[in-house]
């Protein structure tokens, strides 16, 4: 096979596009960092609260995406871990624990609970697993009402904490924004690293085909337990962040409806995508707010219509929008957008022919 000219050309083109995309990535991260730092300084407390909420739910959705998007295991219980984290944070603050220790416990305790549930449940598949996770918020709400020494019962707990230190000169809403955004950024960086390498590939093959996973040395059971544990950990951390900005938690925090909305937001943002997770959080927080501004008595209806529209137009989520647009644009201009820049070599034909057909169909 005369692969030499093809592969050199392709290698050259990949390295070229690789360096452009790297610069684009660095530029994107730079702009994002500046925007995240500047945003609270120029926004009203109300806007800061909404931006902080996006960070909170981004971490909850991130956990959900690890177990559902990347590993393919249905979880309908993420709100239970969010609620658990919020309650642990409230309990810790009211008992005068230091903030970092509280945050640590908000990560570790839900992770242990999640792992114990997963050790039992991960042997099940599909609907059976979904039912077990579904039970968590359903059992959690009455438990939260019952154990009022710990949870404050139905009234919940009001916690007034995390005031901006005098020396910073920041308002409370700005200070809390920085705290939750910092936690979210750390969580996102760690999760992004995790899903890229060895562990990420094991998640992906468990989702794709368990028989292949087994033959490649991946235990589907252990992988599912790990994914579920990480999801619970991130759920607990998001509960800490929730308490930081809302300053209140009640059994309402962990209701089942929240879990479903988190799943919907994850799918809308983009399953198995880190950027999609962030977009899903933006959707989760902003669409009800915007829909309420359009017509305050039709909020749910408008949110539902947006959900359907996104799923219909972008089945792979908001994160696929640029790809989709690029494909639409190139299919109207040129028929072979992804063909390697070479002569009519056998390899070139094989590579480009199927992509050309996909373009025509889409």
């Amino acid at each position: 096979m005369a692969t030499t000219p093809t592969s050199t050309a392709r290698a050259a083109s990949t390295s070229r596009s690789g360096s452009t995309s790297r610069w684009r990535g660095i530029a994107f991260v730079g702009v994002l960092a500046v925007a995240l730092v500047v945003a609270p300084l120029v926004s009203s407390p109300y806007v800061n609260y909404q931006l902080s909420s996006i960070a909170v739910f981004a971490v909850a959705i991130l956990g959900l995406n690890i177990v559902m998007g990347y590993t393919g295991q249905v979880s309908l219980g993420q709100s239970a871990f969010l609620g658990l984290g919020a309650y642990i944070a409230a309990y810790g603050i009211l008992h005068g624990w230091p903030g970092p220790l509280t945050l640590l416990l908000c990560a570790v305790v839900p992770a242990v609970v999640g792992m114990l549930v997963a050790l039992a449940a991960a042997r099940l598949r599909g609907l059976a697993l979904a039912m077990i996770t579904l039970a968590l918020p359903i059992v959690g709400v009455p438990l939260a009402r019952r154990f009022d020494d710990f949870t404050g019962g139905s009234q919940g707990q009001v916690v007034s904490w995390l005031r901006a230190p005098e020396s910073t000169g920041l308002a409370n809403d700005q200070w809390r924004y920085y705290v939750v955004v910092l936690i979210a950024v750390v969580a996102f960086v760690l999760a992004r690293n995790l899903v890229r390498g060895r562990i990420g590939r094991s998640f992906a093959i468990v989702k794709e085909n368990e028989a292949v996973a087994l033959s490649m040395g991946v235990s589907p059971y252990r992988t599912k337990v790990l994914a579920f544990t990480i999801a619970s950990l991130l759920g607990g951390v998001s509960g800490f962040m929730y308490l930081a900005i809302v300053q209140y938690t009640s059994p309402e925090t962990l209701v089942f409806a929240t879990s479903i909305n988190l799943v919907a937001a994850m799918v809308i943002g983009g399953s198995a995508s880190i950027i999609g997770t962030a977009l899903g959080a933006v959707y989760y927080v902003l669409v009800p707010v915007l829909a309420g501004q359009v017509n305050s008595s039709r909020t749910a209806l408008i949110s539902g219509a947006v959900l359907l529209a996104v799923l219909f137009l972008l089945p792979a989520g908001l994160v696929s929008l640029p790809r989709r647009l690029a494909r639409l644009r190139s299919s109207t201009r040129r028929p072979h957008p992804s063909a390697p820049p070479t002569t009519s070599d056998e390899a070139t034909h094989r590579a480009s022919a199927p992509s050309a057909t996909t373009d025509q169909h889409s």
Partner: protein, 270 residues
Amino acid sequence: MATTTRTDEPDAALSVREVSLRFGGITVLDGVSFDAPRGGILGLVGPNGAGKTSLFNCISGHYQPTAGSILVGGTETVRTPAWRMAKLGLARTFQHPALRLDASVLENVMLGAHSWMPGGPVAWSLRLPSTRRHEREARARALELLERTGLGWAAAIPADELSHGLHKGVELCRALLSRPRLLLLDEPAAGLSHGEVEQLIGTVREVRREFDLTVVVVEHHMGLISALTDRVVVLDHGAKLMEGTAAQAQSDPRVVEAYLGKEVGADESA
């Protein structure tokens, strides 16, 4: 072969002893025994439903035999979970290659490095220098294997843009990246063109020599079996019918009968 034999390993890379497999009342395998000599290529043939793939699944740990014993490199593995078999140096391919179609070919192959790459979730989420080093090593080896099998050009392409025949090549690279000592190939030639089969034969021979592999191959393609294997084991109705060279198997009246049926076989030989 005696010159390459190492003292710490037995002569048989794989030893199957009286293996039986029953699902409910159905006997799928009935006391099958054979050895795969180290460094050789053994063919496993037989008509549809003879139990070849079931036997493969027993060896790779996907099924647990009802009775019998299986030794891989001298280690008893009947009770070993399938996911631990990769560490024992066993790798396999499937009849229908299961790749992640949305991922690049390179990413698919790199899964093969899972069993020898160290590091847990904490190390990988912190991107410790050791994980980055192992990732680079796995990538380099994966690219090398792809180049060797004539797929270097495809590394960056999503797997769903490749043909079925090329998927088989990608799957072979994935299995080889796990550094196996024993490689099981389940119908590697199914759905391949004539040219692709020729290339496959060349590749398997080459990698067997280079990586000092023992290969066991299930195949219907008699051309491939004749060209590739040193010995064949013929299965019929879950039992071993005969063992010998590919030529002996093709001329054995019992094998002809198993493939074609008694009357037809009798007519043809008459």
